[in-house]
C-alpha cells in the first residue's frame, strides 16, 4: 500500500479523521487532487457519519485546506453528520476564525475535545 503524502485518514467508529500533511512548501497539484478524491470517496461511504480534521501535522495552511474543509463539511452535513477541527496551530486557528469557520463547525483544541463536540448536540 502506498503511503499518502498529502492527507492521511483513519476511521474511529463512525468518525473519519482527516489529517492534511501539506503546506505550501510541499505541494504538487495533481497528486494532491488524487489523494483528495480518495478522501471524498471515503466520506461518501455509509460507515462515515462525522469528520474530524486534525490540523496538528501542519503549522499553517491556506485556502486549499479551507476549501477542502467546506466541501467535507457539506458532505457530512448532507448525511446528517458533523465536522470538527482540532490541533490547529495559533496561526491555523487565526485562519479558521478569520474565515468565520468557527460559526460553521467545532474548532477544538484536541482530538478528544473534537470527538466530544461531535457527540454533543451542537448544530
Amino acid at each position: 500500500m502506498i503511503e499518502p503524502k498529502y492527507v492521511r485518514t483513519e476511521q474511529t467508529g463512525e468518525t473519519l479523521v482527516v489529517a492534511p500533511l501539506f503546506t505550501f512548501a510541499t505541494f504538487a497539484e495533481a497528486d494532491l487532487a488524487s489523494e483528495w478524491n480518495v478522501v471524498q470517496q471515503q466520506i461518501e461511504t455509509p460507515a462515515v457519519k462525522n469528520v474530524i480534521v486534525d490540523l496538528g501535522e501542519i503549522p499553517y495552511f491556506g485556502s486549499t485546506v479551507l476549501e477542502w474543509m467546506v466541501q467535507m463539511w457539506k458532505r457530512v452535513r448532507a448525511k446528517g453528520g458533523k465536522l470538527a477541527t482540532c490541533n490547529a496551530s495559533p496561526i491555523g486557528r487565526e485562519v479558521l476564525v478569520t474565515a468565520r469557520f468557527d460559526k460553521l463547525w467545532g474548532v477544538c483544541d484536541t482530538r478528544d475535545q473534537a470527538q466530544e463536540w461531535l457527540s454533543s448536540t451542537h448544530a
Binding site: 505550501f24 512548501a25 510541499t26 505541494f27 504538487a28 497539484e29 495533481a30 487532487a33 488524487s34 483528495w36 478524491n37 471524498q40 503549522p59 499553517y60 495552511f61 491556506g62 485556502s63 486549499t64 479551507l66 476549501e67 467546506v70 466541501q71 457539506k74 495559533p90 496561526i91 485562519v95 478569520t98 474565515a99 468565520r100 460559526k103 460553521l104
Partner: protein
C-alpha cells in the same frame, strides 16, 4: 571545536563509536546513555557554544527511541543535525526518520568504514548552512522579479524562496513571515488559476479530477499557455512590497462576495482575498484587476516606510 553527542544505551557501542570519532581531527565527543539524557543535555546547554554540533544516535533504545529523538530535536533544536546508527531490520524506520528530518544514517555493520566520513560531511553542511545564514543576516534589500509559466508546482518553490528572504532580512517575526507567505500564496494562486487560466470558483467547487483536467488542458492551450505570471518582491528590514500580475482579462474585486457574510459562509471558495487582506497591511488592485500590490510593514517602522 565541533562537539559530537553520541547517544546509545549500550556502553560497548558508545565506546566503539567514541573510538571511531576520536580519529577525526578537531572533534570533541560526548556521550549520553539514553534519549532522555540527550534531551536533558540539550536543554542544559541551550543555544550556546557548548551545544553539540551534531548528534549520532542509536535507533533502537529503551525509553525515547532514536526516531523519537530525531522528531524532538527537529522540533526544538532544528539547527542540530542527527545521524542515525541502524541495525539490520530497521531500514524501514530509518527511512521514516530520514523523511522526518534526520540528516543521514549509517548501518552499524559498516560504522568503521562510514561513520567518521558521514559525520564530517554533515559538519561541513552545518558550517555552510551557518555561514549562509550569517550572510543572509547581512542582507539589506531583497529585490527580485519572477516571470512564471502557469506551472502550479512552481508555487511552493517561490513561496519557500520568499519565506527565506523575508525571514532572513528580519522584516517581521516568524509568525508574521508565515502570514505574509499565506497571503502571497493566495495572490499567486488567484493570478495563476483565475487570472491566467480563467478558471472559475464554480469549476473549482466541482469534481476535483475534472478541475485538474481543466488545468492540464489550459496550461497547454492558447491563449492561456503563453500567459505569464509576474511576481515582484521588494523587501527591506522595514517594509515588504509584493506585486503579483497576471495576463488574464482581470476582474472587479469590488464585486467579489464577502466570504464572512453569513449568506456566503457556506461557499467553498472566495477566501483567498480575505486571507490576503487579513495578513497584509495593505492590499490594492490596479484598475483592470489583474495586478495586486500587497504591503507589509515592520511593526516597529513608521507608516511611510512601505510607501
Amino acid at each position: 571545536m565541533p562537539t559530537v553527542l553520541v547517544v546509545d544505551d549500550a556502553a560497548v557501542d558508545r565506546k566503539l563509536v567514541g573510538g571511531l570519532l576520536a580519529k577525526g581531527k578537531d572533534l570533541t565527543v560526548e556521550f549520553a546513555a539514553s534519549g532522555d539524557e540527550a534531551l536533558a543535555r540539550l536543554a542544559a546547554t541551550g543555544s550556546t557554544a557548548s551545544e553539540p554540533s551534531v548528534i549520532v544516535t542509536d535507533l533502537v533504545m529503551p525509553g525515547i527511541s532514536g526516531f523519537e529523538l530525531v522528531a524532538q530535536v527537529i522540533q526544538t533544536y532544528p539547527q542540530i543535525p542527527v545521524i542515525l546508527m541502524t541495525g539490520k531490520g530497521s531500514e524501514e524506520i530509518a527511512v521514516k526518520a530520514l523523511e522526518a528530518g534526520a540528516a543521514s544514517y549509517v548501518p552499524k555493520a559498516v560504522l568503521h568504514q562510514h561513520l567518521l566520513a558521514t559525520v564530517q560531511d554533515v559538519l561541513d553542511m552545518v558550517r555552510e548552512r551557518r555561514s549562509h545564514a550569517r550572510l543572509m543576516g547581512c542582507l539589506q534589500r531583497g529585490h527580485f522579479t519572477f516571470a512564471l509559466a502557469n506551472d502550479p508546482n512552481l508555487i511552493a518553490s517561490l513561496i519557500n524562496h520568499v519565506q527565506s528572504v523575508v525571514s532572513s532580512i528580519g522584516l517581521c517575526d516568524e509568525a508574521d513571515v508565515i502570514r505574509v507567505c499565506i497571503a502571497l500564496e493566495e495572490a499567486v494562486r488567484n493570478a495563476m488559476f483565475h487570472g491566467n487560466l480563467e478558471l472559475t470558483s464554480e469549476q473549482r467547487e466541482g469534481d476535483s479530477a475534472e478541475y485538474q483536467r481543466l488545468i492540464d488542458d489550459r496550461t497547454s492551450r492558447e491563449p492561456f499557455a503563453s500567459r505569464r505570471l509576474l511576481v515582484a518582491v521588494e523587501v527591506t528590514p522595514r517594509s515588504g512590497k509584493f506585486v503579483v500580475r497576471d495576463q488574464g482579462p482581470g476582474f472587479d474585486p469590488t464585486k467579489l462576495p464577502d466570504p464572512t457574510d453569513p449568506a456566503n459562509l457556506e461557499k467553498v471558495s472566495g477566501r483567498g482575498l480575505l486571507l490576503m487582506r487579513t495578513f497584509m497591511d495593505d492590499v490594492s488592485f490596479n484598475s483592470t484587476g489583474n495586478e495586486v500590490t500587497m504591503l507589509k510593514r515592520c511593526p516597529a517602522a513608521p507608516l511611510e516606510a512601505a510607501s
